[in-house]
Symmetry: C2
């Protein structure tokens, strides 16, 4: 069940991130203590803060500044209390803060939710105190909050003074270790303006900082590292806000394998959810999901350098044939397009480059001209200015000293004269002066061809998503609902005919079907709907109908139906003598020539109801040709779910097949989504397997339906 | 057609790689010329060579050494002539070398095959002169040959003196640029003992150096970078030799996408072949194929540090929970196994690590104990000594200065006491003293979790391959045949009945079939084989039988067969009045309940005949569930082809199906392989589509057969 805490809804975090006054509780003169290290960061390494109050009842003075005995004793209420006292004293300090109406507390101290039952109890108390007072808590068990763009480190980390490259990236993480790894990308010139590392997330979560960054003017790109998502709807609301503001969110979510899931759970004690559902939700909300932590940085920096435009064509410019081929290969394998150069570009390249150079795309100048800086600058500049290109890759295979320095200078000069991003890749392990120039020039060169091209692919794909109907639809959706209060009863499976009745009531088209109470009625129904028909036992007590001889398919005439009646009733009486029988469900059989699909709905513990849709039949487990969406679906979602299946060519009419009734299929998916949302408090699971889709105009019908729901009373 | 040059078969390259005497033709005192740079590398930066003769007709002395006017004038025949004269003079010098019976010439000069038609003609002449004299040529258009382990640089590259880390890796490349990129991995401590960069490969090819390295005692791991493979059988022979000597071959082949293929072709003018066939052949020969150039290095170094043993379990040891989870995720996603620790390991970890540490696998010591070097050394040492582990990953997320230096020292110390490789991953962009210690300690730390785990996966998989029946079968295969001389005639398609007759003659089981010459005979044949049957027009002039009403399926009785006769003959007479008709092919229909598969054979221009085998039916193009092997197949190949298909569970009896006749299927594949090899000079293409495989005991039969062959006369 989504763990929503509506009384702690998103609030304005400006005063937490840019406080006018800070109280450091537990300020210390022991340089290695948490309080001492935090003090050093605030006094020695931060830009001047409005007011900094040091609180320590055992001192009157610290480093020449006055010490106050308590929060209560302060001359004003600080915007933020940074709490660096031992775990045993934290609750008392937090109570004091609550009494003084301190709006924000950052609790650095460990020994709470991560430290066994006693810690968990203490953490619950923290939560209660804060909720009662309307105070927001950041932490506990976290390294603090680092506002690089303001030069403010409310953190005990001794690394704070080393990682102060200002920039447009906002970083929101849970654990501190991996977050600091990202911060050390500053070594490559990556600027990260704000880092929130929310630790145990007793109150404020990663989602709240994504929400803040979505409107923060100094943040252009949001990066997040997730081990678990505590509150699904809150997270989605933040993603929505980022999308509304045109800010890309780049996410790495641990837990893609069972090993990772277990390790993350033992680390953060938060639900990691299903990787498939996570990825589907990310895709739906335009989140750029990456697979490894180094990819976060390369991808984020490409976005920071410029958002993708409408031109998707890639240009490659380099001076080694093998490298040109390798890079072209990576572009092709990634499904990207090498642009065809504009005639003017080709003209300049032909005129200027020697005969033996390759002037198509990729351009291979050959190493022979490496020493001619002017020639490189002119030709690279011409390529970068080509109106067909969205981006130019300039792979540098080698560090050749002076020659490479000139190449770096040339790239920097060319970039100054054109807006299309030039992406130099520094492929060598030798990091000489050329590398340092590119870092200083703000290129933060990726180090691997594959990783650079992967970042570009994600950048191009996000641009496509931004321009798509899906992004518009997301902006027009109603706000993500707070998770429904679940119906209290146990979960039960509905009989098939009851499940189908409900679907039909909800406007979902099904093949003609009716429950017959007698042999005669069965025949009458069948005659009325036309042959062939299927007969299935109708009983709330029987789930696996086939196993006990409760199903007869392919009945061709009235005599067959009557015979089926006798056979089924007898077989059921034998196997399930106590079952209450409603009769036989008589259904018209689907005509031949259709395709079997499946749709299922489950309730994800983090995000709520998710639909899985895909190919059915015997290859279902082998193909795993399925696509997923969080509900409700937009019409665009339904259309893209159908289109995304690998088997879509079959539906579209490949291999001489007639095109399938895709319109009916979309309609069906939307109707199922509506049905689920209307019963969100009860519906636990639903399986439509198979769904039959016929040729155009012949419809799409669930042939079987299983619904598991909570009873309401 | 495989471009084999049998008169230039592999020879002993020892005297090329470790010459007793070298003549540098074109030695120069201009420091920037090719001859001047090569001279500097030989005199100033190489270890002393037995004899070095400088040849330059315009000088009597260079740098205090005597200059000879010509090769002819030398007092002895040198082992190697390094040729650095302008392109126009190369042929003359080569002729001189041939006359003097110089065994090896290294031609550095450019302006041959890569430089238009005139260059191509000159290159052909080079080839002819060398072939006539039995002289081996390396190059032209190459940077030379670098024997790092002997400290010998027969190269003009100014980078030679910078890349001299000796080691057990042998590198064979075509282009020089990407090769130098790999050499610069020496910056990370990677030792590369020998680098051959074969340029235009007029004679000696990458294959010849793989062959040399396979038995060279100073080379343990062979790395190759390929843009095209000139001579398939020669390449395969070299791979066989490496496999025989237990040496891993790690390959990056450019041309995985159309873009890469085109760019590589324009760069090297060599055939790149099909990426799918390449990958299949690599797999068959145990070659470790990588996807990017940075992966070459990480993978090679892991092999250089130790070959994989029988234990495949991975251990993870680190001090950050997020990093532990991320790494565990990568291990899981790669399909590797996290080992369960031995009880003794668990006991030590429980006893020594604090309560809040995670002592399972992954081990998360937490950052709290990072300062306790002894504790880390003891616990890491215990994990590394665990008998369940094949390898220990120690991801280092951050550079924390002193703390990280101690961690590096601890890893070095732990590794000295155990043979299981410890793989530290240096994840941070900050490369401090800890990094330098690990480099100096020979760990060449990978820089990305995903890439490190990918290298480990390849290492584990190769170990599995080495121990497999496939590796044994490869060693027992007859030597790869030189490509057959192709039959001279045009390529023609055989009529179906003729194709089937040939298959049957070759011992391949087919469903009963016969060509009936009359209506009456058709009925008799059908009666004899049993119904239902299929009737198809039998005519060498008709390929697409269905399109002209030439096929009737599902004939249930004699009357049906006679009726089909009339219908087909009439329809064919209408559509193809001039076709010569042999009658009707009457075939027994495959029973229901089988699965449709396909097998095809094509002639790859590089490697020869390749079989593609996989799932048939309507999902064939969507699933692309196929597997490939170079022919001939071993029984192990046939078995693994069947097993490798994603749809194998269906054949094995998933979803309530009876298990298929897998034995018959394997037998069929082997018989097809034998058939193809017996007709290798003629057979161009073959398609068995569909192949019907029934339940166990019911056989596997090609239902249709297309054969394209060259006529022999």
């Amino acid at each position: 069940m989504p763990n929503t805490t509506p009384h702690l809804a998103p609030c304005d975090l400006s005063r937490l991130i840019r406080p006018r006054s800070i109280a450091l509780v537990g300020a210390s003169d022991r340089p290695q203590s948490i309080g001492g290290r935090t003090l050093a960061n605030l006094i020695d390494h931060s830009a001047p803060v409005g007011e900094l109050y040091l609180v320590n009842p055992t001192k009157t003075e610290l480093r020449g500044r006055r010490c106050w005995p308590s929060i209560a004793s302060l001359p004003e209420t600080p915007d933020v209390a940074v709490i660096a006292v031992p775990a045993a004293n934290v609750l008392g300090v937090v109570q004091e803060c609550a009494a003084r109406r301190v709006p924000f507390a950052i609790i650095l101290t460990s020994g709470f939710g991560e430290a066994g039952e006693e810690g968990e109890r203490a953490q619950e108390q923290l939560k209660d105190i804060a909720a009662a007072a309307g105070m927001r808590i950041y932490g506990p068990n976290c390294p603090g909050l680092t506002n690089v763009n303001q030069g403010l480190g409310m953190t005990f980390s001794p690394s704070f003074p080393h990682d102060l490259v200002k920039g447009p990236i906002g970083l929101a993480t849970q654990g501190g270790g991996l977050g600091r790894n990202v911060m050390q990308a500053m070594e490559r010139g990556i600027g990260i303006g704000l880092w929130a590392s929310t630790g145990n997330e007793v109150d404020l979560q990663v989602a709240d900082f994504i929400q803040y960054m979505a409107t923060a003017p100094d943040i252009k790109v949001i990066v997040t590292l997730l081990e678990g998502i505590k509150d699904g709807p809150r997270f989605l609301a933040a993603l929505r806000c980022a999308a509304d503001n045109g800010k890309p969110v780049i996410a790495l979510k641990v837990g893609k394998s069972e090993y990772g899931r277990k390790a993350a759970q033992s680390h953060t004690a938060s639900l990691t959810g299903s990787a498939e559902v996570n990825s589907a939700v990310f895709k739906q909300y335009g989140v750029i999901e990456v697979d490894d932590i180094d990819e976060l940085v390369d991808t984020a920096w490409l976005f920071a350098r410029g958002l993708p435009g409408a031109q998707e064509g890639i240009g490659i410019y380099c001076s080694s044939g093998g490298t040109a081929a390798l890079t072209a290969d990576a572009v092709g394998t990634a499904g990207l397009t090498l642009a065809e150069f504009a005639p003017e570009t080709t003209r300049v390249l032909r005129e200027r480059l020697p005969d033996y150079a390759a002037i198509g795309n990729p351009v291979d100048t050959t190493a022979a001209i490496l020493s001619d800086a002017e020639l490189i600058e002119q030709t690279l500049g011409t390529v970068a200015a080509d109106p067909h290109l969205g981006c130019v890759i300039a792979p540098i295979a080698l560090d050749y000293g002076e020659t490479t320095i000139r190449m770096a200078q040339t790239i920097i000069a060319a970039q100054q004269r054109c807006p299309t991003p030039i992406v130099p890749i520094w492929m060598s392990d030798r990091l000489g002066e050329g590398y340092r120039l590119l870092v200083a020039g703000g290129f933060a060169p990726p180090r691997s061809v594959g990783k650079a091209v992967t970042a570009i692919r994600r950048w191009v794909e996000w641009g496509r998503w931004q321009r798509s109907a899906a992004a518009v639809a997301l902006r027009n959706l109603p706000a993500p609902a707070v998770a429904p209060v679940l119906a209290p009863g146990p979960v039960e499976s509905l009989p098939e005919f009851e499940a189908k009745r409900r679907l039909q009531q909800a406007g979902i088209r099904l093949l003609p079907a009716a429950v017959a109470g007698s042999r005669k009625e069965a025949r009458q129904f069948a005659d009325a709907m036309g042959y062939p028909v299927v007969a299935k036992i109708a009983s709330a007590d029987i789930v696996h109908k086939s196993d006990i001889g409760g199903v007869c398919v392919g009945l061709e005439d009235g005599a067959g139906v009557e015979e089926a009646w006798d056979r089924i009733i007898a077989s059921v009486a034998l196997h399930k003598p106590d079952a209450a029988i409603d009769g036989l469900l008589i259904e018209k059989m689907a005509p031949g020539g259709g395709i079997e699909l499946i749709a299922g709905v489950t309730r994800d513990p983090v995000f709520g109801h998710v639909m899985t849709f895909g190919l059915g039949g015997i290859y279902v487990e082998i193909l795993r040709d399925v696509t997923r969406r969080l509900l409700p679906l937009t019409p665009d979602d339904a259309a893209s779910m159908v289109r995304e299946m690998r088997c879509f060519p079959l539906l579209a009419g490949a291999r001489g097949r007639p095109p399938a009734d895709i319109a009916a299929l979309r309609q069906l998916l939307l109707a199922v989504s509506d049905f689920v949302m209307a019963h969100a408090d009860r519906l636990e699971e639903m399986d439509l397997n198979p769904i039959w889709v016929g040729p155009q105009g012949q419809g799409a019908f669930p042939l079987d339906a299983v619904i598991l729901e909570r009873s309401g009373t």
